[in-house]
């Protein structure tokens, strides 16, 4: 008998899982690397001293010089495409957006030395927020600017507004309220108007018009910024080709005229768009219609030279506005600007008035600032390619010496110097743009390809898990090929380009191993397996797959992503309801009560006796009600995102300490504590009823003491943190101490608990029978009565004792040899053996759940209770469905429906624990639980916030193996009794010990379950990756899809890790069980 020594095949399970996880992660890494442009923010500020001329004129303070202009008016017309601004008098039948701004054309022809019109080229992402950031910092903002805190969008980088404030200029702002969130409290005066409603064309513009003229005529401003939104909103609503656009542009024409009439001599007027729009009125991407806005510069006094055609650019990059404005207004150029001054606005050297900067001087100040920034940036971040950096450095040092010698000789006006300074600035900007502001289409495509193949491999893996477990060598060749391919790509890059880009090595490795895997499994197909494959494919075309498809499709629409919480709940409910309908369709739900004489060929022969079946059906219906109820109640714990107009966030999300009303505070506290107590009680009670709380192992100690104690300390922590500051003044020190000590005690207890469970996961209680009892039991007629019912000690009356049949037999044999012929009872009783796998896993999840709850606001205890209830109900539904439809006791494979349900429930409770896939909704408070004074490092707070955000994903992924174990735990009891009465010898209830009978099947089922779970999550990640790739230029891409992608990807990573932990824990339990058997039956090597 090899049963007692055989163990699960842990190596192939873990290695295959690790492989598929890492392939998924590689795909994500590649895609995100191409899509999410990351830039490191340099938090340094330019000062007046920076602008000094090197060594020459130390007495000349830049900021005290006479600036060219004292005042400036910035009229920003959102989405003012360059076509809107051009005026063509020959166009007799203009379209609604053409020739509607005649003021620009008239001014250009009547006052050519006062005005210029250029195309103003924005860098992608062409969204308003990024653009505002771009033309105030002079940098190239990306989606993620590292260093910016996600919680608020305030700009911390050096910028024009801050520099203007530093020299004491009064900046007055009116218009789009995005500015107010970017520059909170930076303006001398600000009149923000709500910008969110795209359908509203007039609120912002009318608000500005009410104030702008009086402000202009008044005297309490130096720089006036007015941001009109009507044109943009009109584009989003109607598109450019619509009469409403004509009205809007004509209104802008009148505005510009009135503003120009009110300008003073030393005032500069800039009319510009932040980006363009496509023919459908959208923006965000990188097509020329989106990037090319208009910029119109006007001064009441002449500034432009008349004949400078060769110096006039057609297209002005958006970054160039910042250095130009800064030098014209006499302030230092913001530190991170990579722009280039707009030369036509500066006089050539020698023709300048005293004090005004000449073209060459401006360029030199500009070049020095850019070089300073480049040096700082390359020392903090490494994303600029080293060869480009080296090239720029040599270029600058050559320039520097050239400029100094020229200025000494007084030859500053040489055009060569000007053009080489311009060349340097242009190449810096181009280098930066290539690094920050371009989607890398190749990386994105590579990521999509790797992810798609990973999904396919995952599916194959789940369908062929049994053969793959048996073969055991495919994974080795796959990993060898992966490493080889990675090294090959690296060497090829080294030879061809001289440096190695890691992502392409990763791509080569992942792609080659995937292709090898798919090819091998395709090759290995024997004809018979082909048939089996076809059948499993048809088995895949189920409502579960359809629901998964709907879920993935919903990720492609911004409305559904915004309403994700409800969508997922809807789908979960639908899938849960499908289970009983499906069973009923196959006639399995209700035992055939009406007695129609039907031939048994038509009806499936009932696997269970009627009474048992009815009981199972009742359990199923009751659990369905529970699932539906908890899913419905979980809707009340949702948070809100800004796109949901009239939405009130759940009351339970507010921490107790912020609640004013004492009565409600107490009520919430009591509710939360009750929920916590019930949570703890339910888990312990389940373990007790399975007989897992009698052993003397440390796991049982954890369940009996550490687990309840940590709950108690959590409840105390809530009480302490909920007390308002002023209620116990004399105890404030004590309260401060408790606020630190209690959560830390909980952390300590929970960590200890988790470690102890991991160290010894066995919860089996062994009772060696004394000979007297053996004699007593031998008198009982059925041989196994002793093992099922009679337990002599009172405290054991709850137990489901389990005796392992084979072990008992082997012991019997031994006794037979000893001549004890009359003995019939087993010598050893083992209690809790039937749930030996699930009990420690459940306890692990319970302890983990308390730990995660610690990081949430108090009210979330109710949500966690609902989570536990729904988890249990889904498990029971699955178990009942399996038991009702079980035809033969074969493999342990888990069908798709419960797996999809499980994964959907994880997303559902992500929302029901108060989370949203947006950055402002991250619960930063979690980082300060137990650390009210803050942290020194970043690892610990980041971990805490991650644990808080993905709590539900963690819990569902760790407990995923329960889906495999639960049908065995809930094995119908009376069928066993009924059968054991007829054939007592053969059929003893084995529950989870069944798994030990066929370790290969157990391993393959575990692998199948985990790959299926991974596939469900992987498909969702793939869908949101596709959404981000396809909808790159959607209005909502940076508000909805990109954050959704990041959350989905992080959730996937967290789920992978948690799933691996859960699976490893099951394997760990299995090895402990094997050791236990070995100890019990030492001479089993027969």
């Amino acid at each position: 008998m090899s049963l007692c020594v055989s163990r699960m095949r842990w190596f192939p399970v873990l290695s295959l899982l690790l492989w598929i996880c890492s392939v998924f992660l590689c795909g994500l890494y590649l895609f995100v690397g191409g899509f999410l442009l990351v830039r490191v923010e340099v938090n340094r500020t330019s000062s007046c001293l920076d602008a000094l001329f090197p060594g020459q004129e130390p007495e000349r303070d830049f900021c005290r010089g006479q600036p060219r202009f004292h005042k400036a008016v910035l009229l920003i017309v959102d989405a003012l495409r360059i076509e809107f601004a051009r005026f063509d008098p020959n166009n007799t039948s203009p379209r609604p957006f053409e020739n509607k701004l005649p003021v620009l054309g008239e001014t250009l022809s009547s006052e050519p030395s006062h005005s210029r019109l250029y195309a103003f080229r924005a860098d992608p992402p062409t969204t308003t927020m990024q653009r505002i950031k771009g033309f105030t910092t002079g940098s190239l903002p990306t989606f993620i600017d590292v260093g910016n805190n996600f919680a608020s969008s305030a700009i911390l980088e050096d910028n024009l507004i801050q520099q203007l404030g530093q020299v004491g200029k009064r900046v007055v702002f009116m218009g789009d309220d995005t500015w107010e969130s970017l520059y909170p409290k930076r303006f001398h005066r600000s009149l923000p108007f709500p910008s969110f409603n795209v359908k509203d064309l007039h609120t912002v513009d009318d608000g500005i018009l009410q104030h702008i003229y009086s402000t202009l005529e008044g005297d309490d401003w130096d720089v006036l910024v007015a941001h009109f939104l009507g044109v943009d909103h009109c584009g989003h609503r109607f598109g450019p080709d619509h009469p409403a656009m004509a009205d809007k542009l004509s209104q802008m024409d009148r505005v510009i005229r009135s503003v120009m009439r009110r300008l003073q001599k030393d005032t500069l007027l800039v009319v510009m768009g932040d980006h363009g729009m496509t023919d459908t009125g959208d923006h965000g991407g990188e097509s020329q219609k989106e990037t090319d806005a208009a910029i119109f510069i006007y001064s009441p006094s002449p500034v432009f030279q008349k004949q400078q055609a060769q110096l006039e650019p057609e297209v002005v990059p958006q970054t160039d506005l910042v250095p130009t404005l800064a030098l014209l207004l006499g302030i230092p150029i913001p530190y991170s600007s990579v722009g280039q001054v707009l030369l036509p606005l500066f006089p050539p050297h020698g023709q300048s008035a005293a004090g005004a900067l000449s073209q060459q001087e401006a360029l030199w100040i500009n070049a020095k600032q850019v070089n300073r920034f480049l040096e700082t940036y390359s020392s903090v971040a490494k994303d600029i390619p080293p060869d480009a950096l080296l090239h720029l450095r040599t270029q600058f040092s050559r320039l520097s010496s050239e400029y100094l010698s020229a200025s000494r000789k007084g030859l500053l006006s040489s055009p060569e110097l000007t053009s080489s300074l311009q060349d340097y600035l242009t190449s810096v900007r181009d280098t930066c743009r290539a690094t920050w502001a371009k989607f890398n289409a190749f990386k994105m495509a590579a990521g999509l390809l790797v992810l798609a193949l990973a999904c396919v491999s995952c599916l194959i893996l789940s369908e062929l898990s049994l053969t793959l477990i048996k073969e055991n060598d495919s994974i080795k060749s796959c990993s060898v090929v992966a490493v080889l391919a990675g090294v090959c790509v690296a060497v090829a890059q080294m030879l061809a380009r001289g440096f190695v880009e890691v992502c392409w090595c990763v791509f080569g490795a992942a792609l080659s191993s995937e292709l090898l895997f798919i090819w091998k499994t395709y090759q290995a197909k024997s004809p018979s397996r082909k048939v089996a494959n076809f059948r499993s494919l048809r088995g895949f075309l189920t409502p579960a797959a359809f629901i998964l498809l709907l879920r993935c499709a919903s990720l492609l629409s911004d409305s559904y992503v915004i309403a994700e919480g409800r969508v997922v709940t809807f789908l979960t409910l639908s899938l849960a309801l499908y289970v009983p309908i499906h069973l009923n369709w196959h006639g399995l739900l209700l035992p055939q009560t009406y007695d129609s004489p039907k031939p048994s060929a038509v009806l499936p022969s009932p696997a269970l006796p009627n009474s048992v079946a009815r009981k199972e059906a009742n359990t199923l219906i009751a659990c369905l009600v529970l699932v539906v109820g908890s899913a419905f109640l979980s809707l009340f714990f949702h948070s809100c995102r800004e796109e949901q107009g009239s939405c009130q966030p759940s009351q339970f999300l507010a921490p107790l300490s912020r609640m004013q009303d004492e009565k409600r505070k107490n009520l919430h506290y009591v509710l939360s504590v009750c929920a916590l107590a019930l949570y703890t009680y339910l888990i312990r009670n389940w373990m007790r009823s399975c007989g897992n709380l009698n052993a003397t192992s440390i796991t049982v100690f954890t369940a009996n003491w550490i687990f309840p104690l940590s709950s108690v300390s959590l409840a105390l922590h809530w009480a302490v943190s909920g007390t308002s500051e002023d209620s116990f003044k004399n105890l404030s020190e004590l309260i401060g101490l408790a606020q630190v000590a209690l959560p830390r005690a909980a952390y300590f207890l929970l960590t200890t608990g988790l470690l102890l469970i991991w160290l010894d996961p066995l919860t089996v209680f062994i009772k060696h029978k004394s000979s007297a009892q053996r004699l007593a039991s031998s008198r009982l007629p059925p041989r196994y009565r002793a093992s099922i019912g009679i337990s002599p000690q009172a405290e054991l009356h709850h137990l489901i004792p389990q005796i392992y049949q084979e072990m008992r037999r082997s012991l019997d044999d031994g006794e037979l040899n000893a001549g004890a012929e009359e003995d019939s009872g087993p010598a050893v009783e083992a209690y809790g053996l039937g749930t030996v796998y699930s009990a420690p896993l459940l306890l692990l999840c319970g302890v983990l759940g308390v730990g995660l709850l610690l990081l949430h606001p108090e009210g979330m205890a109710l949500a966690f209770l609902l989570l536990l209830l729904e988890m249990g109900a889904v498990l029971h539904i699955h178990a009942s469905a399996v038991n009702l439809s079980r035809t033969q006791a074969g493999g342990f494979g888990v069908p798709w429906t419960p797996v999809v349900l499980w994964a959907l429930a994880a997303t559902q409770f992500f929302h029901s624990t108060g989370h949203m896939p947006t950055f402002p909704s991250i619960q930063w408070g979690a980082a300060f639980v137990g650390f009210p004074g803050g942290h020194t490092g970043t690892v610990l707070p980041a971990t805490l916030v991650t644990l808080n955000t993905f709590a539900s994903h963690i819990l569902f992924a760790v407990s995923c193996p329960l889906l495999l174990l639960w049908p065995l735990v809930c094995e119908p009891q009376s069928s066993r009794a009924a059968r054991s009465s007829t054939d007592a010898e053969v059929d003893e209830a084995k529950m989870e010990i069944r798994l030990r009978d066929s370790p290969v099947h157990f391993s393959s089922a575990l692998l199948q379950l985990s790959t299926r779970y991974l596939f469900v999550h992987g498909a969702q990640v793939f869908a949101s990756v596709c959404a981000a790739a396809i909808l790159r230029r959607h209005l909502m891409v940076w508000k909805v899809f990109a954050p959704k992608l990041m959350f989905e990807a992080s959730a996937f990573v967290v789920s992978c890790v948690s799933l691996l932990i859960g699976v490893t824990f099951v394997l760990r339990t299995d090895s402990a069980v094997s050791r236990w058997f070995k100890r019990l039956v030492p001479d089993v090597s027969r």
């Binding site: 006639g587 209700l590 009406y594 129609s596 009806l603």
Partner: protein, 219 residues
């Protein structure tokens, strides 16, 4: 016999479909200010009433309804009473299910209940007509081998189509298109009605093409 039954079913379904169309068109002509979106509840009631009346009459005329075991007036009355009770309970049941699926709890209870009435008159009423007030039989019918006549199979198809239609009808609600038919419960009741009409058409067609496979043990 097959042809006869299918023909009977076809004409019965044609009448039902016509009643739905009439319930939409007639009030639009007769009642001033009637529109399917604007006075949506009124439309729901019209369709419900029409379908209820027409199915009761048609099924009674066709004699599909299982014959009463006793012919006393009291028994018939109690049967009628139980049918009404089941109708009402089914409305409550659908209302609960709709709320659980995410319908507003308090705000538009009347709308939700109207939709529940519509669903009941499209599904439960048919069960009542074909099977009588017998929940056990209803549950039995919705299993693979539970259909005992052509009408049972037809019932399976129409009810499934109606419910699936209502389910699909919920899909456009979260979209930000601001169309009048996205307002609760317009899209769901449309979905249910379209599903019902589809079922009316699909059931005889399906039965016609699968009549070889269909075997009923007893009638």
């Amino acid at each position: 016999m097959w042809d006869q039954e299918i023909r009977a079913m076809g004409s019965c379904h044609a009448i039902l479909a016509a009643s739905v169309l009439l319930a939409t068109v007639l009030p639009a002509v007769l009642v001033p200010g009637f529109s399917v979106y604007g006075t949506h509840l009124l439309w729901i009631y019209c369709v419900s009433t029409a379908v209820t009346g027409v199915s009761a009459v048609v099924f009674w005329l066709l004699g599909v309804t299982p014959p009463a075991k006793k012919h006393t007036v009291g028994y018939k009355l109690s049967r009628l009473f139980r049918s009404c009770l089941y109708f009402f309970l089914s409305c409550l049941f659908f209302h609960t299910v709709l709320v659980l699926y995410g319908a507003p709890l308090i705000d538009s209870a009347l709308e939700t209940f109207s939709l529940a009435v519509l669903l009941t008159s499209l599904t439960t009423l048919r069960c009542l007509c074909v099977l009588g007030p017998n929940v056990q039989a209803w549950i039995r019918v919705f299993s693979r081998h539970g259909a005992m006549s052509v009408w049972d199979t037809c019932l399976q198809i129409t009810v499934a189509c109606t419910l699936v239609g209502a389910w699909f009808g919920a899909f456009p609600i979260p979209l930000d298109w601001d169309r009048p038919w996205q307002v609760w419960p317009v899209s769901c009741s449309f979905g249910a009605t379209f599903g019902f009409l589809t079922g009316l058409f699909a059931a005889p067609t399906w039965i016609h093409y699968h009549r070889k496979q269909l075997t009923y043990k007893c009638k």
